[in-house]
């Protein structure tokens, strides 16, 4: 099957002129915040909440170093590493998908998002199997402070991942439109930002729960 070429919608005269001015003013660099303002408000709010979680885990680590070390030894670091690889690779696919969409390669963008969705589902499956093995070993949020933080905070994060897969499915649906529109670009960028936020939060959680 022949690969369809770029599908772009011509910008209006005013927009082209504005684009050219912004582009030239920054030495050939398009200086702009990607996505919609609303998603950034959400990103900042979520970062603030997780900043608090990071500090709480670290304070627990400081106050109960030995107990945290004992409980941490019961985690499967390999599962944590694997999940990190799934999210990082998912983020790469999302970033590539958004870039390809902006270049008008809708089918390629859709394929990238398919792989990103698979990465998200792999994360969810791996997390569920990890949780199941912990619960069947008798561990629960009531076990100690380490496992309370572990289950609650990675649970909240898992909820973000599930939501993120939904966002990716929505982004994928947008790539089925006939052509690229600036509104859809903003929607795809915003969805991508949510996915990268989920990845970013996991990077810190992975270090604090599995590696210390």
């Amino acid at each position: 099957m022949a690969s369809p070429g770029p599908k772009t919608m011509p910008l209006t005269g005013g927009a082209t002129q504005k684009k050219a001015v912004v582009f030239e003013a920054n030495g050939g660099k398009e200086l702009r915040l990607s996505g919609e303002t609303g998603i950034w408000i959400f990103v900042v709010g979520d970062l603030a909440v997780f900043t608090l979680f990071f500090i709480l885990i670290m304070l627990g680590q400081r106050e109960e170093t030995a107990a945290f070390a004992t409980s941490r030894a019961m985690l499967n670091v390999g599962a944590g590493v694997l999940n990190t690889l799934f999210l990082l690779t998912g983020s790469w696919f999302v970033a590539m998908g958004v870039e390809r969409y902006r270049s008008g390669h809708l089918a390629k963008a859709r394929r990238d998002l398919d792989f990103a969705i698979l990465c998200g589902l792999a994360f969810i499956a791996n997390k569920c199997s990890e949780w199941a093995s912990k619960i069947s070993a008798g561990l629960s949020p009531a076990t100690d402070n380490f496992f309370m933080y572990f289950f609650i905070i990675t649970g909240i994060h898992l909820f973000h991942v599930i939501l993120g897969v939904g966002v990716l499915l929505y982004m994928r649906a947008l790539t089925k439109h006939d052509s690229v529109s600036s509104l859809d670009v903003l929607k795809l960028e915003s969805g991508g930002l949510f996915w990268h936020l989920v990845d970013l939060l996991w990077i810190v959680l992975f270090a604090l729960f599995y590696l210390l």
């Binding site: 702009r32 500090i55 680590q61 670091v77 990077i203």
Partner: protein, 98 residues
């Protein structure tokens, strides 16, 4: 003309995405080793803990700059993000090591 240069910029952004991904994977494996060292009475355990936290925050910074495209954002926003990353690093290191 401008569109050609934007196409070129998009290609270079795609290359930068791949470079960022390769860096993030490598950093993950390095921090895995550091964590292992931190647990197994590595002579410089504090150094290993600092390495784990430092690597995590550098990864966060790369995700923000490249994947979230903050490297193309207005300078004040870039600065705010860098300030958050540095504050997180200092706070977590201070709690862990001080």
């Amino acid at each position: 003309m401008i569109d050609d240069r934007m196409t070129e910029r998009r290609k270079s952004n795609a290359r930068a995405n791949t470079a960022a991904w390769a860096f993030l994977i490598t950093a993950t494996l390095v921090s895995w080793w550091l964590g292992h060292a931190a647990r197994n009475n590595f002579p410089a355990q504090h150094l290993a803990i600092a390495g784990v936290i430092g690597t995590a925050l550098i990864k966060v910074w790369v995700v923000g700059l490249q994947f979230m495209e903050l490297r193309n954002a207005p300078p004040l926003i870039r600065l705010a993000f860098a300030a958050w990353v540095v504050s997180m690093m200092v706070a977590l290191l201070a709690i862990a090591l001080a």
